[in-house]
């Protein structure tokens, strides 16, 4: 999901169909809302954050349909830039952010992220 987000972010393509490949529900909507804001602000994202995702819990235990994933993402090299001149949008740095993701089994047997929570820089 974050890879699709990073690709869409290079042009702030909030309508990217690829976003729905691994995300749905609140997660998908919030990705597109965020990209829309970048698009509206004429900003793009360059670079890709690193991830270190681990399964934190799964339920029900015997036959999971919902998994909570804990991730520590480093966004140091994934920053926003002005689309018009390529300059850094501001001097706010990235950093290590704790991310909780909720992944649920879909009706078509695929797993998709249904919700995510990205915390402040410095939370992991």
């Amino acid at each position: 999901m974050w890879r699709e987000f990073a690709v869409a972010g290079t042009t702030s393509d909030w309508q990217s169909a690829a976003l729905g490949k691994y995300a749905t529900g609140v997660a998908l909507t919030n990705l597109t809302r965020g990209l829309y804001a970048d698009h509206y602000n004429k900003l793009v994202t360059k670079g890709e954050a690193t991830h270190d995702a681990k399964v934190a819990s799964a339920e029900p235990a015997d036959n999971p349909t919902k998994i909570i994933v804990t991730d520590c993402s480093d966004s140091t090299k994934a920053l926003k830039y002005r689309a018009d001149n390529g300059q850094l949008a501001d001097d706010t740095p990235g950093g290590r952010r704790l991310i909780n993701g909720q992944v649920e089994l879909q009706g078509d047997k695929s797993w998709k992220v249904t919700d995510f929570a990205v915390r402040e820089v410095g939370t992991c």
Binding site: F5, G20, Y40, N41, D90, A117, R119
Partner: protein, 340 residues
């Protein structure tokens, strides 16, 4: 104070801004618009019974949730006109404005239309709407009645982040329920964040180099005096006031002097050997051996911060501001002896 008529017109925008959160928008990293401040979700409340970021002391993440998307002019029931501001003649009032956008949610996406977490003030808790089924039931999207998606941004006088936040759906005629309005305590947090404390300006006598064994007068030529900021929603206005209470002077020679006021400015004609009546120091050693041959001097102003409004009030943790200077201290004996 706030012009009430003006307040009525614009307060809807403010209320929505508070519900939506007016934490500054930063471009920053790739998560700038999809973090728990800008696009909060129930998952942001996961863990340890907290409802937000523990790294923000005093912060109330409740006011940063999308709550019910949308700001309405409570008198007309329509979204406030984009570009509304409430700054007017009063300073330090936050304002949020909305611009209709062409955003459309993706198919398969849902919106946390009615999400509002518990608040520190014991406000309304809507645990039930956290259920995924409730989300879908409450999903606010075009097609469920007239409305539109709005991008929005907030401005505080003197501080404009200039960035639009992720779009929110505002249904035409949607009234912000009273329960969604921020509490006085939440407003107080807003007001506190809007406080702009001035940096202290250091002044001293003698105006140039200080002399060993000669009283040094210290005072602040600026950065001392009450500062206030106000946040308001319909019917409620809360003001936070920061009041300086003392100055701690680190003189650079190992001495610390605490003064309960800004200090008395030295007036020409005063006996230069007389100590300051309220804020002074006597250097016993020259600064010749110091880096730069001067003592680094720091003045730290301590502020108490209180708030009041809507018949309530409280105290925030103290704040501090700091000013720096360097004092050269010469041996008067050396001067007398002409270095001989």
């Amino acid at each position: 104070m706030l012009n009430m008529k003006r307040a009525a017109v614009v307060a809807g925008a403010v209320a929505a801004g508070l519900v939506l959160g007016t934490a500054p928008a930063f471009a920053g990293d790739n998560y700038g618009n999809v973090n728990c401040n800008q696009t909060p979700t129930p998952l942001c409340d996961l863990g340890a019974g907290t409802s937000g970021d523990p790294n923000r002391p005093g912060g109330n993440p409740g006011s940063n949730k999308p709550g019910r998307p949308g700001g309405n002019d409570s008198s007309t029931g329509r979204p406030s006109n984009p570009g509304d501001t409430i700054v007017g003649g009063d300073s330090n009032l936050a304002s949020c404005s909305y611009v209709k956008s062409d955003y459309q949610p993706p198919s398969g996406g849902v919106v946390t239309a009615s999400y509002k977490p518990s608040t520190t003030s014991g406000g309304v808790v809507h645990a039930a709407v956290f259920r995924p089924t409730a989300f879908r039931a409450q999903a606010a999207q075009p097609g469920q009645g007239p409305g539109a998606w709005y991008v929005w941004k907030c401005t505080t006088e003197g501080v404009t982040d200039g960035l639009y936040r992720p779009p929110v759906w505002i249904a035409d005629g949607q009234q912000p329920g009273a329960a969604l309005l921020p509490s006085p305590a939440e407003l107080a947090q807003m007001a506190r964040k809007q406080l702009r404390l001035p940096s202290p300006s250091i002044a001293a006598n003698p105006a140039g180099d200080q002399l060993v064994n000669l009283p040094t007068w210290m005072w602040l030529s600026g950065g001392w005096g009450p500062v206030s900021a106000t946040a308001a929603v319909p019917g409620v206005s809360v003001t936070a006031v920061a009041t300086p209470t003392s100055v701690t002077w680190a003189m650079g020679d190992g001495s610390t002097v605490t003064c309960t006021g800004a200090g008395t400015p030295y007036k020409a004609g005063t006996d230069p050997k007389a100590p300051s009546p309220d804020c002074g120091h006597v250097y016993r050693r020259s600064s010749a051996s110091q880096p730069g041959q001067a003592y680094p001097v720091t003045a730290t102003v301590h502020w108490t911060v209180t708030w009041s409004g809507a018949g309530q009030g409280g105290t925030f943790p103290d704040m501090t501001t700091t000013g720096n200077a360097t004092f050269r201290v010469a041996e008067s004996q050396a001067l007398n002896n002409g270095g001989g």
